[in-house]
């Protein structure tokens, strides 16, 4: 691998740490210089919002799931801590812990049903939950004090030590923010950051890489809840008044605006967003309480002009590579070769009597098909014959209405797509499904989050994943493009990267959906050679394509689908000469009378 003109990973880390320390020092110096109790209070509350936003980054930033419950998490956290302090007089630190437990438990309860919802339903469901919370705190007067709430919430205390107002609270909140930033960074850096990017940009691609996006979302939702609860529990003793205001939608709006303005995926963005926007009501005093107009304006401007936020703008200026340098180990390294290997031979991929209906339309009916290990089977058929539907059923994107898919006797039907990918049946898509913002190497490396070893620290895991990915890219004939951003690669190479991702799973079978479409003649020849080598090594292929020049010399057997039924299968020459196949492609005038089924 050629050396690249990037500053070393080590130096960048050092620069980043230095930037963090400088920023922290600047904040402390500013607070100290002004030393006005009002400014301190605003800065302290901005710190609680930085925590809230860091939590929101888990679910909205990392995974791109538009949760609208983050404000509610803040609200319940604040109410739990405040009410315990007011009514039971329990120690503050216990109140914070209780707030986290209550909110996380609630989030877990909610997350089970909503985590797999599509984005617009996820947004609505979380919005509905937030509304229920608001109705609850407004109307359950015996517990919450209703619309007025309670004043004189006890202040912060730590192990019996009362934390003084002003500086004490400032230091407590910002220390917590710092610690939580380190925790968030440890949870997100390395392989998880790449996996999250893939899940965010293309959930279907993530499933094909063996990634359980539902579980990712579940975890992220719980983390966001925990951070939200801590933020609320820290803010309330500073404000000293608990009222439904803490659970209103404007908390959610502020959090969303800070996240978008600061930057969705970069932790520093949470701090930038909170410090810039929290004091905004002060900056726009001339607007009185209409500062929310300006909030909306800033949010709109950020979405239109800087979709990656200020942190994203900064990243364009500063040398911060999206992925670290190439893996230090050469691709022949033992670690790389130790990519999830499986015993070869024996097991076959078998489709038996599969049927699929979309409403009144029968897409597939009684389709049976068998691919042996190391065999290349071509699947042909006119447009709309059901080829991609069959691929979707094999790989678990669709559920079959009848029939079964099995791998070496193990039933795959009913398993989610990511489990089928892990079980050894990989696939590629008609339009390559990849994360456009990630490098080719990172795209392929995501596979290692679901399969292979899970020991070692984040850095070791990432290094190992990059090793596996480099080896897979080499096998797919794309080794030279490992550091290129996938969005900038030409179509033919994206197909190679997708093939490499399939290979990195260590699959027994790969379903290729029109791999030759849009490729030049030279590319097709290369691809055929690559596939032959891989079949030689024991991987079985089901190749959907229209290009007979590509498929005929490559595939040992062909199968032809027509209107959802398998009308022919056998040797390439036999299928090509089959009257039913000719009729399906060219219409009845060209075919001999009477369809045959073999």
């Amino acid at each position: 691998m050629a050396a690249r003109a990037h500053p070393s990973e080590h130096r960048i880390q050092l620069m980043r740490r230095l930037a963090w320390i400088c920023a922290a020092a600047a904040l402390a110096a500013y607070a100290f210089a002004v030393a006005d109790s009002y400014v301190l209070r605003v800065l302290t509350l901005a710190g609680t919002y930085a925590i809230l936003v860091m939590g929101y980054q888990f679910v909205f930033g990392q995974l791109g799931a538009l949760s609208l419950a983050q404000g509610a998490f803040f609200g319940i956290g604040a109410y739990t801590a405040a009410l315990l302090g007011l009514k039971l007089g329990t120690p503050y630190i216990l109140n914070v812990a209780a707030a986290v437990i209550v909110v996380v438990a609630l989030a877990a309860l909610i997350a089970v049903p909503v985590r797999r919802l599509q984005s617009h339903y996820f947004a609505l469901a979380t919005l509905g939950i937030a509304e229920v919370v608001l109705i609850g705190v407004r109307n359950w007067e015996a517990l919450t004090g209703g619309g007025d709430g309670y004043a004189q919430v006890p202040g912060m205390a730590l192990f019996g030590l009362v934390i003084p107002r002003g500086w004490g609270e400032f230091a407590t909140v910002w220390s917590a923010a710092g610690l939580l930033a380190v925790l968030a960074w440890r949870l997100q850096r390395g392989l998880p950051a790449r996996v999250h990017a893939l899940a965010r940009e293309d959930p279907i691609a993530a499933a094909a890489a063996g990634i359980d996006t539902g579980r990712l979302r579940f975890n992220a939702f719980l983390w966001s809840a925990a951070y939200g609860a801590i933020a609320g529990a820290l803010a309330i003793p500073v404000v000293r008044v608990i009222s439904p205001e803490v659970a209103e939608f404007k908390v959610m709006v502020a959090c969303l605006a800070m996240t978008v303005v600061g930057g969705r995926t970069v932790i520093a963005g949470a701090f930038v967003g909170a410090l810039l926007l929290y004091p905004m009501p002060e900056w726009f005093r001339f607007l009185e309480d209409h500062y929310l107009i300006a909030y909306g304006g800033v949010l709109l401007a950020a979405v239109l002009l800087a979709p990656d936020g200020i942190a994203g703008l900064a990243a364009r200026v500063l040398p911060a590579p999206r992925s670290p340098g190439p893996p230090p180990a050469p691709v022949t390294d033992r670690e790389a070769d130790a990519s999830p290997a499986r015993p070869r031979g024996g097991a076959a991929l078998e489709v038996r009597g599969v049927a699929k209906r979309f409403g009144g339309l029968t897409a597939l009916e009684g389709v049976s098909l068998r691919v042996e290990a190391g065999e290349i089977v071509g699947l042909i058929g006119p447009n709309g014959a059901g080829k991609t539907t069959l691929a979707n059923i094999i790989s678990g994107q669709y559920a079959a209405d009848a029939g079964q898919v099995s791998l070496g006797g193990r039933t795959l039907t009913g398993l989610p797509a990511f489990r089928i990918a892990r079980a050894g049946v990989a696939r590629t898509f008609q339009t390559p499904a990849l994360a456009a913002g990630l490098s080719a190497l990172d795209n392929v490396a995501t596979v290692c989050a679901g399969v292979g070893r899970t020991d070692g620290g984040p850095a070791a895991r990432l290094r190992r994943a990059h090793g596996v990915a480099a080896a897979a890219l080499a096998r797919a004939g794309a080794a030279a493009y490992d550091m290129e951003t996938v969005g900038a690669l030409p179509h033919a190479l994206r197909r190679r990267v997708e093939l490499a991702r399939a290979l990195a799973l260590g699959p027994r079978f790969i379903v290729l959906d029109e791999p030759a479409a849009g490729l030049t003649a030279d590319d097709i020849t290369d691809l055929a050679a690559t596939l032959r080598d891989l079949a030689e090594a024991g991987i079985g292929f089901l190749v959907i394509d229209h290009d007979m020049d590509f498929l005929l010399p490559l595939a040992g057997r062909l199968a032809c689908l027509h209107e959802g039924r398998l009308i022919a299968s056998g040797s390439a020459d036999a299928v090509r000469a089959d009257p039913a196949v000719i009729e399906a492609y060219l219409g009845p005038d060209f075919a001999a009378s009477g369809g045959t089924h073999r």
Partner: protein, 294 residues
Amino acid sequence: MEIGQLFLNALVLGASYALVALGFVLVLNATAAVNFAHGDLVMAGGMLAVALSAVLPLDTGVPGLLVLPLVLLAMAGAGLLFSLVAYFPLRRGPPVSVFISTIAVGIMLQHGIKALMGPAEQVAPPLIAGPRLEFAGLVASRQALATLVVAALLIGGTALLLARTQFGRRLRASAQDPEMARAIGVRVPVMIAASFALGTALAGAAGLLFANSYFVSPGSGGNLMIKAYIAVTIGGWGSAPGALAGALMIAFFEVGVAAWLSSPVAEAALYGALLLTLVLRPQGLFGEPAGRRV
């Protein structure tokens, strides 16, 4: 209260919700994006009606009916402007950006109008002035009946426009399959802009109706948007008849539970029912499952 009276009340509320939901689903279908500001546009229509009635000489018997065409026109223009600001610059981006941009514009509308007209509840002129009507033991304001008629006319007119005119066919074609529509010569961006204009005009009309029967304040938009959102969800994502049915169901549910228990309980129960629907039948109560094609 008597069942018949409750039924009439729910029907009037449902007619107004249906108008809100119809505008919402038109924009949704054209853009595949949720318009979070839709409720605020409804509120803006109501506030516009209030403002117009203050400056226009409306000493006739039908003040609201005179204001209605002005509101429709002005809101159609506002819808065009809205699409230029919040939708078209983000058309090629991820759908979540449009979601956020509409949240942003919604906030600006809500607080901008609050700054102009104050936070208090306002009343728009009734469609038809005059005393209440009574028959068969039911009490109905002329406004309630006029609301039913106007909503039915606007919904029926929209349905005719979509089903029977060349413009409507183009609009539906570009919503269903933008690429194909472009290939056969439909100017898709124009159709999207038209959907915003039509959807927002309907929102304005809904605002006018609401602002007399139920009052309107700058903060009432969010709630209405959620109702439309829920109506579209339980009616089947993207289905206009489903959205209308969903809106009526919400109104009957709300009026029924509120009469039986209380308003906050009715609202909480509505969200509970929504969550149950999402978990048990994410495709909506009547709809077919619609997933992304791969």
